[in-house]
Every structure is written in structure tokens, then in C-alpha cells.
Amino acid sequence: MNNQATILIIDDEVQIRKLLTITLESFDYRVQEAATAKEGVIMVANHPPDLILLDLGLPDESGHHVLRHLREWYSNPIIILSVQSGEEDIINALDHGANDYLVKPFRTGELVARVRSALRKSSADENNPVMRAGDLTIDFSARTIKKNNVAIKLTATEYTLLALFAKNEGKVLTHQYVLNQVWGPSYKSESQYLRVFIAQLRKKIETDPNRPAHIVTESGVGYRFVVN
């Protein structure tokens, strides 16, 4: 198995870089390391990697700043590494173009899963209107959903919501983002709509709505659509 994808780690802690490198290399990723924001930005400019793991607490510049700077021209996935589980910090990063986040300490299994999911081209691309997500089959052209090959009736809003999640599989979508995409900018603070529709949608698509396997809650941040 050769992933060939190049991952750049921007983190000032040698220990963290070392362990991340060992882990990622054992999964056949090519790894580059940068210890400062400055070094990292130069490396991205010279050889844009396929994915960046960016620590938010860099010594020379705030990770948030680096993120915004990189997003001016760099469009591949960026995963944020943070020591704080403060939701504000994470939401801020996600709203400024981060694809995902990991809070230190994290499990290597989780790291690899997030990297994989961020690197995977969405299986819901234009040429393939049908997406399989575990027991769900979503047909974007016919706007139909099947669970274990049995058709599920969704309302228009429920469908729009599910389609948005499915097209961003593996990615954390913040509450604000979803509200804006599904209901429009004037509903940005109407989070109760989102809660209600998520609960309804889970009742229809999840085998056990109390232990959702597809629409997973990211506490205080948003939701993530998981394929299997």
C-alpha cells in the first residue's frame, strides 16, 4: 500500500513531530516537518503538500493567523492540532478554512482516520450521483435515500440537510455553517431548527437514533457525517 500523499506537520514540539512522523510514515505517507509558522509557510509555498497538520499554538505566530494566510492560496486539507478543547477556538479555525481538528492528546487511530478522511476525495462527486455510506444509499440525481435498500421518505429540508452532510463526509460542519447553507443567512442564530431536524433525520436514517452512526455530534461545535 503506498499512499504517496505528502503531509506537512507544523508544530514546535519536537516530540509531537517525531511521533506524528513515525505514525504517518508507518501508514506510508511522506512526511515533512516545520517547527515554526514562518518555516511552514515557506515550505507550503515551495512544495504544496497534500495535507497540513497545523498546531494552533506556534511560538512565532498564532496558528489562526497562519491558517488564514495559507487559505489565501492553499486549498488542500488543513487539520488543526490544538491543546485546548475550547469550542470557540475550534469553531474559529473551522470557520476560517480548517477541514478538521484534533485535540491533544489524541489517539493515533483517530489521527490516521481523520487524515484519511480529509484526503479522500468525496465519493459524492458530480460524475457519480450515487453515494454509498454504510447502510445508506444516497442518489443525488433522483434525490432519494435508501437504507438497507428500503426507500426512506425525507422532507425537502431533511433531504437538503442530509445531502449537505453527505457531500462533506468526514468533515466537521459547524452549527452556523449548516444553518447558513440549509436555511440561509437570516437563520444563523435559529439553532433550534437545526436540533429538531437533526433529531428527525436521525430517527429516519439511524439504526439507533440515540447512538448515531452517521450524523455524529461534535459537542458545542457541530456535526460530522461518517460513512461507516
Partner: protein, 360 residues
């Protein structure tokens, strides 16, 4: 009396009480005028000032001293009803009256300052004792997993070729358990310091209580499968405005407490109710319950039930309490009549019955 000194009336009340007392004594002296001489009246006033000095701050005492001197001069010293003092004898007396009143005030003030110093010293000593216990418990809780990690890695480093595979696996699993425990302790300490410094902001948003409860339960997998978990939340339960992250933390600590201190097979029941404008969540178990005498202390920082098994810092419940109080809510603990304990969280909060909204 010490208690009274600690809870002195407010400054403006002290002024009022001082003035009233001086005037009362003066009226009393005037009523007895003729029966007692004006010099005796001076002593009566001096007693009033001394009493005031015993209890009040220096400023009201000075006011009382000045006021009583003026009153004595005006109403008592002949010629009466003038501020003039007739004889040189009386002039000296008035001067001495004023000096004695002042010295009186200053001395009492000094004594009280000293008392205060002693009290501060005592408090410091108590604090030192508290921190000693705290550091003992903390260093134990942090050092145990660190010791495990260092010992296990040393073993793996130096004896790698001599250790059988199964021992190596066991050492690795010990390292893993120890680091999870260490992380848990550090997280508790961080939450506690976040609470104490007041440096955290509560961010309320609409919460689905079903989602909150089930997500918290799920975070205990697989350990929780050994317990009989039951969740009772009414159908069409409204949404509540809460900080999801903080409430998850609260429930996590309560359920974690039940798992930590009861035996596998114990029933844990989580129930949610909507009572007026309050959200009520209870977490009950049918374990042994808390020792009756220790229930009051259960939420105290670093308090651990006497003889409880290691693995806790005594922070979980006080963090839960802090986060509930950050919601203007309250948390209580009771033993159940048969067996076990029940935690009750009550939070006044906005609700939304939007669940009945038409589904477009």
C-alpha cells in the same frame, strides 16, 4: 463577640449608631442634670465613646469623640448653652476629655488591628494545611501513573530481549492505562482552575437533552456495558438553552462517579423532567450510597469519601457543581431510601417547544 467584630455593621450604619448613642447618653445626662455634676456627665459620655471604639472603625469613633466633646461643652460645662468654657480648670478638663477619647479610640483600634493580624495568620495556617492535603493527594494521583509509565518504559528499554511477549504486551497496556488516568487528572485540574479563575465563558445554545445524555453515556463505552443503564426522557421533550460542553462534563462526572464507586451490574438511571421553567436531570444508582455523615462534603473540593478506592482526585463532583452553578442552577445529593444515591440537577432555563413546528 469575636463573631460580632467580624460582622461589623456597614460604615454609614456605624456613623448613625455612634451619633445616636452619644445623643442618647447626653439626653440621659441632661435628665439627671443637677443630680449628677457636669464632670460625671463627662465620664458617662466617655463610656459611650469607649463602647463605640470597641466595635466600630476609627472614623465613627473619632466622630463620636468630637461630637461628645462638643455636646459636653455646650450643654454641660457652665456657662451652659454656649461653647465658651468658663474656668481654666474646665478648659483643661475639656482638653483632657478630648485627648482621653482619642487615645481610647486609637488604643482600641490598635488592639483590633492586632486581632486581625492573628486571624490572618490563623487563616494562612489553615490554608497551608489545606494545600498540604491537596498536594499530598495530587502528587499521589499524578505520580502514580507517571511512575507506572517510567517503570514500564524502562523495563521495555533495558530488558527488551529478556521479556516474554505477554509481559511486554502487559507493560504496554499499563502505560496506556496510566496515561489515560494522567490525562483525566490533568483535565480535572484544568477544569477546576478554569472555574476558580472565572476565566471561562458559558456559551448557551439550544440543546437536545436526548443527544446530551446519550452522547455522554456513549463516551463511557465499553466500561458502561457492565452496568444497567436506563434513560427516561419524556416524548417530545423541549429544547433547553444550555452550554452543551459544560453540561456534558457535568453528566460525565456524575455517571463517572457512579461507575467508579459502584460494582459492575449496578443500575444507573438518568432521568430528565421539565418542571415550570426548570430543567431537572437526575442521575441515580442503586449502589451502596454515600455515608450519611459525608453527604454534605461530597461536593467539596478534593474531598474524598473515607476509605474510597484510588483513582479519583476528589474534583469531579465539585467541578460538576461549579458548572451547574455557572448555569445559575443547583445540584444536590441524597441517598435513596432502599439503597444507592441520587444526584439532582435543577437549572432554570429557556425552553423551546419547536418540536411541533410544521415540517416543511
Amino acid at each position: 463577640m469575636k463573631n460580632f467584630l467580624l460582622h461589623k455593621p456597614a460604615r454609614n450604619q456605624q456613623y448613625i449608631i455612634s451619633v445616636v448613642l452619644v445623643i442618647t447618653v447626653a439626653i440621659f445626662g441632661l435628665a439627671l442634670y443637677g443630680l449628677v455634676g457636669y464632670r460625671t456627665a463627662a465620664f458617662m459620655l466617655l463610656v459611650a465613646v469607649s463602647i463605640i471604639a470597641m466595635f466600630f472603625d476609627i472614623a465613627p469613633v473619632l466622630l463620636a469623640a468630637l461630637l461628645s466633646a462638643l455636646i459636653w461643652d455646650f450643654f454641660f460645662i457652665p456657662p451652659r448653652f454656649t461653647l465658651t468654657v468658663g474656668t481654666g480648670d474646665d478648659q483643661l478638663l475639656l482638653l483632657m476629655y478630648f485627648v482621653i477619647a482619642l487615645v481610647n479610640a486609637a488604643l482600641t483600634y490598635k488592639i483590633r488591628q492586632m486581632e486581625k493580624e492573628v486571624r490572618v495568620k490563623e487563616e494562612k495556617a489553615n490554608e497551608a494545611k489545606f494545600y498540604n492535603t491537596l498536594f499530598n493527594s495530587l502528587s499521589h494521583e499524578l505520580r502514580t501513573p507517571i511512575t507506572t509509565i517510567i517503570a514500564a518504559t524502562d523495563n521495555l528499554n533495558t530488558n527488551a530481549d529478556r521479556l516474554p511477549e505477554n509481559i511486554k504486551t502487559e507493560l504496554l497496556s499499563e502505560i496506556s492505562i496510566a496515561s489515560i488516568r494522567l490525562n483525566h487528572q490533568v483535565e480535572n485540574l484544568l477544569s477546576m482552575s478554569r472555574l476558580e479563575s472565572g476565566a471561562f465563558q458559558i456559551k448557551k445554545d439550544w440543546c437536545d437533552i436526548n443527544e446530551l445524555v446519550h452522547k455522554t453515556i456513549q463516551s463511557f463505552e465499553p466500561a458502561i456495558s457492565k452496568y444497567k443503564i436506563a434513560v427516561h426522557i419524556p416524548e417530545n421533550f423541549p429544547l433547553f438553552k444550555l452550554d452543551f460542553g459544560l453540561m456534558e462534563h457535568v453528566l460525565h462526572n456524575l455517571i463517572g462517579n457512579a461507575i467508579q464507586y459502584t460494582l459492575p451490574g449496578t443500575g444507573i438511571v438518568i432521568q430528565a423532567l421539565h418542571d415550570d421553567d426548570k430543567l431537572v436531570i437526575t442521575v441515580a444508582d442503586n449502589g451502596k450510597g454515600f455515608p450519611e455523615g459525608e453527604i454534605d462534603k461530597a461536593f467539596d473540593k478534593f474531598y474524598r469519601i473515607h476509605g474510597s478506592k484510588p483513582g479519583g482526585t476528589g474534583l469531579g463532583l465539585s467541578i460538576a457543581k461549579g458548572f451547574v452553578e455557572a448555569h445559575q442552577g443547583m445540584i444536590t445529593l441524597k441517598n435513596l431510601p432502599m439503597s444507592g444515591a441520587i444526584f439532582t440537577i435543577e437549572i432554570p432555563t429557556e425552553t423551546s417547544y419547536i418540536t411541533r413546528l410544521k415540517n416543511e
